[in-house]
Symmetry: C2
Subunit: 131 residues, 2 copies
């Protein structure tokens, strides 16, 4: 059985995602990452690890993140606003971290997650909790 207490939930943020209007400055994905990191500095978020990723292959629906954790379904979300969704993403991941299998009841999911879901993948066989 996975050690869900010590192994953190991981938030992958695509830093390559480019939004309409992106010029020579940081791309939308990099701005989203910075906004998430700023939110995390403002307050603790439990056992969460944030990892920049060069590409999540969801290029048509920027910005994009994925969230994964031991024994949990992995979710991929797109269509996220780099300027306004950092807090929403972290709130949604809070619910995810509280659900042993990562499946949050529909009503509790942020609207951005309901509309932006790109895919979900079951936990790989990691013991009974993963099935």
């Amino acid at each position: 059985m996975p050690d869900t207490a010590s192994e953190p939930v991981v938030l992958y943020v695509c830093t390559t995602c480019r939004a309409e209007g992106d010029g020579d400055g940081p791309r939308a994905g990099a701005r989203l990452l910075a906004a998430i990191q700023a939110e995390l500095e403002a307050g603790p978020a439990g056992a969460l690890r944030v990892e920049p990723v060069e590409c999540l292959s969801v290029c048509k629906r920027p910005c994009t993140v994925a969230v994964a954790g031991p024994g949990r379904w992995t979710y991929v979300y797109g269509d996220l606003d780099p300027g306004h969704s950092a807090r929403t993403i972290l709130d949604g991941i809070g619910f995810y971290a509280e659900a042993p299998d990562g499946i949050v009841p529909w009503r509790a999911r942020p609207e951005a997650f309901r509309k932006g879901v790109v895919a979900r993948i079951p936990p790989r066989g990691e013991g009974p909790a993963g099935r």
Copy 2:
């Protein structure tokens, strides 16, 4: 480091995917699963486990599969033809299984995987091979 020798690659097949024209019979996703299983009975496919999944949340791009393995990137593919893609999927997964990180060179990927990629997610921290 994950034990990549004994832990198999897993192919998740969405059995809920419905294609245009699906009537009362088995849905497109269920037909794709049956076709994959028939291909596997016809010949061995190494350490591959096939798992039906009720929904991969890629409902707009049926049929859909995902492939995952220890220390490997997870890939999600859509737009797969239930009648003609079973052999292609298994061939593509053969290349995936041979790549330690699951990243197959672009030219070696089946066209259905190049065009149908929905998302990819990095391996979660499972040791050095997973980073």
